[in-house]
Amino acid sequence: MIDCQNLVKHFGPLLAVDQLSFKVEPGEVLGFLGPNGAGKSTTMRIIAGFLPASTGTVTVCGHDVASAAIAAKRCLGYLPEGAPSYPEMTPRAFLDFVADIRGLRGAARRGRLDMVYSLLHLEPVLEQSIDTLSKGYKRRVGLAQAIVHDPEVLILDEPTDGLDPNQKHEVRELINTMAANKIIIISTHLLEEVDALCNRTIIIAHGRILADDTPGNLEARSKFHNAVSLRLTDTTVLARVRSEIDSLSEVAHTEVDANTNRLTAFPAPGLLPLTAISELAAARGWEFAELHLESGRLDEVFRTITGGASA
């Protein structure tokens, strides 16, 4: 378990983290969302034991990161932002070093290292120096370093930043396979990543928690939640269709995108307009090029919650 209580971090006059409190239980994959400079990395660095908090406490698996730093560090794996490593070393030598420090010995060590090599598909590059590797491989070496001791807690600072879509997918798959009984904290500013990976999301800005919920519930906060988007094959009747949909009791109001002619019907509070609209369409004989139910847009929720905050 990770337990952060009233974390505060000052850098000189700058308040980077402001009274942050949250708990994370095993099995949770927590996505840290926030604009750049929101305090995501700082918070992760405090949990990982790299930075001391100005005030407040963090315990990782019951160990206070300030007073029992080594014990806390033993049960966590950390991927710093940008996945630093020693460029002149080979992945094998680098991971050997980490395994040494992690106290892995004998058969257990060989087993873990082999498993990590195959999990991250590192075999082809084991004997190549790290600075000759592609960005994707470098990131995987960084991840390998974090999981070599099979930690209970994984803290990954922007694990897919700068990777191509295939590599992103691979890293996400990997995180998903590990997620079952670990605590995983991921920071990102990619909203699709939260959908793909996390079962809980904390949105922070200016060092404060603005929202703490499941991605689904956050999407439900979107005005697009349960809205219906549609495009007609015959756009000439759009105005008439719009006024008829507008008059449905389930629909609060409608919007039309002038470029795509896409009509979006926003639901009246607590109602689902999809059935009413499709029944109406069947009765009137409208033909749709496209019709779908919106689940909510995380990016819109994010912008609303953070108020366009950025640094």
């Binding site: 660095r45 990982a48 034991g49 790299f50 930075l51 080594i70 014990a71 560090k73 033993r74 966590l76 950390y78 710093p80 932002e81 940008g82 630093p84 490593s85 020693y86 460029p87 002149e88 070393m89 030598a93 070093f97 980490v98 040494d100 420090i101 992690r102 106290g103 120096s129 370093q145």
Partner: protein, 244 residues
């Protein structure tokens, strides 16, 4: 202890994976021999000892050791690796000592590779090998002192060039403190106690007595304390500056 060894082994490995190790060793060997034969007049003196060899070590180390120590922490901080290292389950002092020992062991290796000159002097004459062994010990201790100063300064900056220049200056001051020229400046007006204090802070004073074959406990304590104090300062600097 195993953490210190792990850090040390990784660091040593890195020396040999980059040209640093080879360049350092080759330059050290070429320069030390050039100085011995051309500036030290090894042959012309007609004495079977290695004084012309060891006399130049302080000046060699003045430039070569900072070149080795400059990357110890500056590079770690610049590349962000320090974040990785400091979140592994090791104590800060273990990392500091491990890295320092790697650099020290490496200079020890470079020093050991000067053995042909020891063989040469034994072939040419009948030197006091005890004095030569003591001088080797003194030289290694002095290199350790230089390295500890350089390691501490390297933690102050992310820029290796700045670390190099500051280390050279700091080591130069520590060397000069024992130079007759500098001491004369003080002895004209300052009380003898102050002159002695300044002289006693100098690498040169302690090295020259060891290199004459006199291993005085005070000289050993001097280098031991200097290294310990510098590494302690190194750890404090890292604690303060690691996140910058």
């Amino acid at each position: 202890m195993s953490n210190v060894t792990a850090v040390m082994r990784r660091e040593l490995k890195s020396y040999f994976l980059t040209p640093v190790a080879y360049v350092f060793i080759v330059i050290f060997l070429i320069l030390s021999n050039t100085f011995t034969f051309y500036l030290g007049n090894f042959y012309e003196r007609g004495q079977a000892d290695l004084a012309p060899f060891f006399n130049f070590h302080p000046w060699l180390y003045l430039f070569l050791v900072p070149a080795l120590s400059m990357r110890l922490w500056a590079e770690e901080r610049r590349s962000g690796n320090i974040e990785l290292l400091m979140t592994l389950p090791i104590e800060l002092w273990q990392a500091v000592v491990g890295k320092f020992l790697a650099a020290w062991l490496f200079t020890g290796l470079a020093l050991a590779l000067t053995f042909p000159i020891w063989i040469t002097v034994n072939y040419l004459g009948d030197p006091d090998n005890g004095v030569i062994a003591a001088a080797y010990v003194g030289s290694l201790l002095m290199a350790g002192g230089f390295l500890a100063v350089g390691s501490c300064i390297s933690a102050l900056t992310k820029n290796q060039v700045i670390a190099f220049i500051l280390s050279v200056v700091a080591c130069f001051v520590l060397l000069l403190a024992g130079f007759a020229m500098v001491l004369d400046l003080f002895s004209a007006w300052a009380p003898q106690a102050l002159v002695d204090t300044i002289a006693s802070l100098s690498f040169l004073t302690h090295f020259s007595s060891i290199s004459k074959g006199v291993i005085d406990v005070r000289d050993l304590i001097y280098f031991g304390l200097l290294i310990a104090a510098m590494l302690y300062a190194n750890a404090i600097v890292l604690e303060l500056k690691k996140a910058d």
